[in-house]
């Protein structure tokens, strides 16, 4: 260790002695920081990503890699704003139902082929082709692309999808309805281009390092399942001159504490998430490295709104009392301790362009909420909705230490404040999903993460037809408002109203808005702390030499 450091120091001294011109090349062109000789970034993956096929991917871990290997029409900057990717720009016409993208003529695949509009057409048709059977094919339904739904259902041919290459550098997309955020949706993997010749030559093996042809800033050079993968700078990338990072390594480390030890031993530059509850201690120990940033997910307890559910669940006073009695500050600051926000509404407070609605119970104190809860509860008891001898609630959650801690704390709050007896049951993940889907619960732990940085990605969940509305909440006003919001110039008006209805009906009990806690080596610069979707692109990273 010391030997290497000494050698490195000697090398630096030598470089200085040789002349300043050689040294100047090692400065960051914009910030002037001294760049490290080895531009290598190593991060931890919690689990092995299932696939690197952009059209098949449905996971965040895979998306982090795919975003480096491939580039879509549009991309994101450090603040999450839309910037040109393969496309230099786009034009909307036909009342926002047609988008025409112009592609840059310098974009190339890693084998030197030009990236053309046909590559996007091929990829998108592939994503909806029933033979591909992409679990994320519904993303194209979400974009409202013409015929996407019919093709997925096997009713139309993939060639009938609402996208066409006008010429090599012009791509025209037709949508069923005006969708102002369609260009933003092209930053997701499903809509990345694909290299037809490679896929046809290798079949499912095309994503193996030796076969893959990609168009992003990096190429895949090594992959061993459950161990590691590496990606290295792609010299064919159109903007390769501005990419400083040479190599990125992802290590799969399941155990959070083991990962933390290895971070401290210098084997990792980035570690996320941190072991539960350790953020405050790490912030004290490594203040320049421990960070908490918003993550676009909301944690809530779903009430069972089915007709055959317990009758007291259909009484809004009971649901409201249960929600009011939850002291969210205790959960956030005593249990989770990772910079999360107490939640009184569904959509994450950091969602782009989302005006936080005015939810009355979010501004009063917990003792006032408790008093109100007791009042509502007593009224429900007086009306015979809740039996006088008390209530037993079945609360289900999937097996996890933090879900258990939250459920235990909440059940104590309900017992002390409302005299409710809570039966906690936990299940292994897939079993849990099935039980929740079948409605075998009174209250179910739930969480929802946005697919894209827009409030509808949260609020659509509470509409009647939504596939993951496991509490089966159904409200005509909410459905109508969400339909209306799709074509609205300022959908915030509808969103605010929807949140208001959700509050009045207490459709769910929101608990907290997520934060991501992580450790980042101080030598790594360019991290997009303000990108609320946590979409990081390694091409923006660089490693510096810190002045001691």
């Amino acid at each position: 260790m010391t030997v290497t450091r000494t050698l490195r120091l000697t090398a630096a001294t030598l470089a200085l002695a040789v002349g300043t011109s050689a040294f100047a090349a090692d400065k960051h062109p914009v910030t002037g920081e001294t760049l490290a000789e080895e531009q290598h970034f190593t991060y931890r993956l919690l689990d092995q990503f299932p696939t690197l096929d952009p059209q098949l991917n449905e996971e965040t871990a895979g998306f982090h890699v795919i975003r480096d290997l491939f580039e879509g029409l549009m991309s994101q900057d450090a603040d999450g704003n839309l910037i040109p990717g393969v496309a230099t720009g786009f034009e909307a016409s036909n009342e926002n139902k047609t988008y025409t993208f112009t592609l840059r003529d310098t974009a190339k695949w890693s084998n030197g082929d030009p990236v053309t509009a046909h590559d996007f057409v091929y990829a998108w048709q592939r994503a909806v082709n029933p033979e591909t059977a992409s679990p994320y094919g519904w993303y194209l339904e979400l974009t409202e692309m013409v015929n996407a739904k019919e093709i997925l259902a096997g009713e139309k041919d993939p060639s009938e999808l609402g996208v066409r290459a006008v010429d090599d550098l012009t791509l025209e997309v037709n949508l069923n309805i005006p969708l102002p955020y369609f260009p933003a949706m092209t930053t997701y993997a499903t809509l990345f281009p694909a290299h037809q010749a490679t896929i046809e030559a290798h079949g499912a093996d095309w994503t193996k390092p030796e076969n893959m042809v990609s168009n992003g800033a990096f190429v895949l050079t090594d992959l061993v399942l459950n161990e590691f993968h590496t990606r290295e700078k792609n010299p064919m990338y159109w903007d390769a001159d501005n990419v400083i990072m040479e190599k990125v390594t992802g290590l799969v480390i399941n155990d959070a504490n083991q990962a933390l030890t290895r971070y401290k031993a210098g084997e990792l530059d980035h570690l996320e998430p941190l072991p539960a509850g350790q953020f405050p201690a790490l912030q004290e120990e490594l203040p320049a490295e421990a960070t908490s940033v918003p993550r676009l997910c909301s944690y809530y307890y779903a009430f069972n709104h089915r007709d055959d559910a317990e009758p007291w669940l259909s009484d809004v006073r009971v649901r409201t009392a249960l929600s009011y009695a939850i002291d969210r500050d205790v959960i956030v600051s005593q249990v989770l301790k990772g910079g999360q926000w107490p939640a009184y509404n569904l959509a994450h407070l950091k969602t782009n362009g989302f005006a936080m609605p005015d939810i009355p119970y979010s501004t009063i104190s917990q003792s006032e909420r408790d008093a109100k809860a007791k009042e509502l509860w007593d009224a429900a008891v007086a009306d015979g909705v809740v039996p006088e001898e008390g209530l037993e609630i079945d609360l289900i959650y999937n097996t996890s230490e933090s879900h258990k801690a939250i459920a235990t704390v909440i059940s104590q709050m309900w017992r002390q404040k409302l005299g409710v007896q809570t039966n906690l049951s936990n299940f292994e993940w897939k079993t849990y999903l099935e039980i929740r889907r079948d409605g075998q619960f009174d209250v179910a732990r739930s969480a929802w993460c946005a697919d894209y940085n827009e409030a509808s990605s949260f609020l659509d969940l509470m509409t009647t037809p939504h596939g993951s509305n496991d509490g089966k909440f159904s409200n005509e006003t909410v459905d109508a408002l969400m339909r209306e919001s799709k074509t609205s110039d300022d959908p915030n008006a509808q969103y605010t109203q929807v949140e208001k209805v959700l509050y009045e009906e207490m459709a769910v009990a929101p608990i907290y808005h997520y934060a991501n806690t992580f450790l980042l080596n101080e030598e790594i610069k360019g991290w997009p702390y303000n990108n609320a979707e946590n979409n990081w692109y390694s091409k923006n990273f660089y490693r510096v030499v810190l002045d001691d």
Binding site: D47, P130, P135, L251, K430, L433
Partner: protein
């Protein structure tokens, strides 16, 4: 002897077939499926997925196709979760890793365990005995999920001698800690069994005879007492060896080795049916094989069994 081996191999085939059918049924009985996710996939997409993997077929058709695929083409099917991989890919990648650290753990456990146990028995009730018993009890109560983080803490964080995980094709620096973590508890069990059986053998009349003939202690131990003392150890080693080479999820989890153990557990949690089946069959076949090896070894060591 040959007919004995052939007969045993013949029994192995129906054993594995029963294993396949039984695991297949159990797997289907588990709630949820490979495509059950937080986000309910729309029915048309679920239908496409099920059609792609043949899950839309009746149960008997599925199991028949599966068995036929294995028997005729040695094809264990694609992974439902790692869509870029087949089960054969996964086993081909993970099994050599597990085999490597399992084999070395076995070698270490046997050599250290047998020596420790024998030493304790020979120097019965001396400080050497107490030391050996102390070590084996200590190793026994330290399960590998405690050992693994401690090892990484010491050798990676404090001393900086070894990498904290990974495999890198099986370079020794990466193999060392998994082997230590996996072998300790096996080593402790072997030492205890060896000590007890050696003590028993040392009290036998034929040892007294050997001593009475004036043979040096070394020859009495190695020439006469060792072989019979090993019998109970060997019956333990068969299943222990299979246990070691078919993977330890703890080792894979803590050291990110990419071994088969983690795939096995993950496949069950993910309901990745073909991977569950593939690894179950592999484990089953190895268990049958090594039980046979143990029986043959037994016959070789113990003439009473051979001539029976």
């Amino acid at each position: 002897m040959l007919s004995f081996i052939i007969r045993r191999l013949f029994i192995a085939i129906p054993t594995i077939l029963i294993l396949i059918v039984f695991s297949f049924c159990l797997m289907y009985a588990a709630p949820g499926g490979p495509f059950t996710t937080e986000r309910n996939v729309p029915p048309e997409i679920l239908a496409n997925l099920e059609a792609k993997y043949g899950l839309d077929q009746p149960f008997f058709v599925q199991i028949w196709r599966y068995v036929v695929g294995i028997v005729t083409q040695f094809d264990f099917g694609p992974s439902f979760i790692y869509t870029d991989q087949t089960v054969n890919d996964i086993i081909a990648q993970g099994f050599p890793v597990t085999l490597t650290y399992g084999f070395w753990s076995f070698v270490v456990a046997v050599i250290v365990g047998v020596s420790l146990g024998a030493m304790a028995a020979v120097y019965h009730n001396s400080w050497l005995d107490y030391l050996a018993v102390g070590i084996s009890v200590g190793a026994q109560v330290l399960p590998n999920f405690v050992m693994a983080p401690i090892l990484v803490l010491i050798f990676t964080l404090w001393l900086g001698w070894l990498p904290g995980g990974g495999w890198q094709g099986g370079q020794w620096q990466y193999v060392l800690m998994p082997v230590i973590a996996l072998s300790t508890s096996f080593m402790a069990s072997i030492a205890r069994i060896m000590r007890a059986s050696m003590l028993e053998v040392l009290g036998e009349p034929f040892i007294r005879t050997a001593r009475a003939k004036g043979l040096p202690m070394r020859r009495v131990i190695l020439g006469h007492a060792m072989m019979p003392s090993l019998l109970p150890v060997i019956s333990y080693l068969g299943p222990a060896f299979v246990g070691m080479i078919t993977g330890s999820v703890v080792i894979d989890l803590y050291f990110s080795t990419g071994g088969i153990g983690q795939f096995f557990v993950n496949s069950a949690l993910n309901r990745d049916y073909p991977v569950i089946m593939g690894i179950t069959i592999l484990t089953g076949a190895l268990t049958v094989l090594f039980n046979l090896v143990v029986d043959i070894l037994y016959a070789w060591i113990d003439p009473q069994i051979r001539y029976r």
